[in-house]
């Protein structure tokens, strides 16, 4: 057998490396193979492969120890979050009741009342005569005589029970609130007349309202304790 030149004694690098390996291997228990007793195996060639494998393994372990803290060991998790938004619609008026003076032969406008709207759905705002407080259906759309003492409508008094002309109402376009055509008949209930078309969610605390009332000379002056009044109801309907 020809010995590898690597283990032959000689000058230079090979001679210098050998003692280093030997000194290192003194800490490694390696079972001597019979072949290592071969007198020709001056440098333990037969064990050398095993020893180098061991040192390679140790080197790998060193790599692991050194590299592991530096490397980021990553893991991931994924999950979902789901929910629904509750429907919210809010409508309020700035005034519960507005007192105006009606002048025969003219049209009186009232723009001091505003509408506050908040919603998270597109839809429409409609307006109609609420016919509340015992207001007769025959007076729908009209201002009718109202007893301030009993807080109800009183159609029994003579001569007039309601004004000649109906109340008209219009809005003012603002943002998602598009004013519809002026409502000239608040008696419509199925469906109620559209005041605003709302294109989406939003909020406006001062939507313009314009009530107008034409007064005729034929419209009677009411006795004390009575006024002409109409209760107006606003409804928001999501589309």
């Amino acid at each position: 057998m020809r010995y590898p030149e690597f283990y032959m004694p000689g000058p230079g690098m090979i001679r210098g490396r050998r003692p280093l390996l030997c000194s290192f291997f003194t800490f490694i228990p390696v079972r001597e193979s019979p072949a290592s007793n071969d007198p020709r195996d001056r440098f333990g060639v037969k064990n050398m492969k095993g020893k180098i494998l061991i040192i390679a393994g140790l080197l790998a372990l060193v790599c692991m120890v050194m590299v592991a803290p530096v490397m980021a060991s990553d893991a991931s998790a994924s999950t979902s979050v789901s929910g629904t938004v509750t429907k919210v619609v809010s409508l309020t008026t700035s005034s519960g009741a507005e007192t105006i003076t009606l002048t025969p032969g003219s049209t009186t406008h009232v723009s001091t009342v505003t509408l506050s709207a908040s919603q998270n759905c597109a839809g429409t705002i409609a307006a109609k005569d609420a016919l509340s407080s015992s207001k007769p259906s025959s007076t729908a759309g009209y201002m009718a005589n109202y007893s301030t003492s009993s807080s109800t409508f009183d159609t029994a008094i003579s001569p007039a029970t309601q004004l000649t002309d109906k109340v008209a109402l219009s809005g003012t376009t603002s943002g998602v609130y598009a004013a519809a055509a002026q409502i000239t008949d608040l008696s419509q209930t199925s469906p109620a007349s559209t005041l605003y078309t709302v294109s989406g969610g939003g909020s406006n605390s001062a939507l313009g309202l314009d009530f107008s009332q034409r007064t005729e000379y034929a419209d009677s002056i009411l006795p004390n304790g009575y006024v002409y009044e109409i209760p107006v109801e606003f409804d928001y309907t999501c589309s």
Binding site: R2, Y3, P4, E5, F6, M48, K49, I52, L53, I55, A56, G57, L59, A60, L61, C63, M64, V67, A68, P69, V70, M71, A72, S73, D74, A75, S76, A77, S78, T79, S80, V81, S82, G83, T84, V85, T86, K87, V88, S118, Q119, N120, C121, A122, G200, G201, G202, S203, C238
Partner: protein, 174 residues
């Protein structure tokens, strides 16, 4: 040459061993992160909505770690909705890409517990990793979710819901 063949074989063997060990140690990650208790039927009302049902469990390590969170735009979620809940059709199981997106990003807040070695951060969810929590060793902690709702967040009348997927990435040794 004999020396070349022998030396080459040894080097090959050593190299294979080193590479195998390197990959075994480098690619088998011990650290894990689990998420449980997430809201699936969260009812949002106007204003601030808070939920702390989400539980994160980091395990398999004694080292320090950091957890980042992102909206990975899973399942084709459109990029313009990154960090925000997007309309989702639960019947068909897909995003409604022409649908509504909540106005505000989902916010996540990790807890800070000095005694427990946890440091939390507030994160407005986005498409990139953002640090949510730092700690060490095995830890279980709750994430607080915040979702602000305005009137501009549409009510969905078609049975659809709003949804976002959270991806939590944990890195060890940071």
């Amino acid at each position: 040459m004999g020396i070349s063949v022998y030396r080459c074989n040894l080097l090959k063997t050593a190299l294979v061993v080193v590479v195998l060990l390197f990959f075994l140690t480098g690619h088998v990650s011990a650290i894990t992160v689990e998420v449980t208790g997430n809201p699936q039927d969260w009812v949002f009302t106007q204003g601030s909505n808070e939920n702390n049902l989400t539980v994160v469990h980091v395990s398999g390590t004694t080292d320090t770690w950091a957890v980042n969170v992102r909206d990975a735009l899973d399942y084709g979620k459109k990029s313009s909705s990154a960090g925000r809940l997007l309309e989702y059709n639960p019947t068909e199981g897909n995003w409604v890409n022409t649908g509504s997106i909540l106005s505000n990003n989902l916010t996540l807040v990790g807890p800070t517990a000095t005694g427990q070695g946890l440091t939390g951060y507030s994160v407005a969810l986005g498409p990139s990793d953002q640090l949510l929590e730092k700690g060490a060793g095995d830890q279980t902690w709750n994430v607080t979710l915040n979702q602000a709702i305005t009137y501009n967040d549409p009510y969905l009348s078609n049975g659809h819901i709003y949804r976002v997927y959270l991806t939590l990435d944990v890195s060890e040794g940071t």
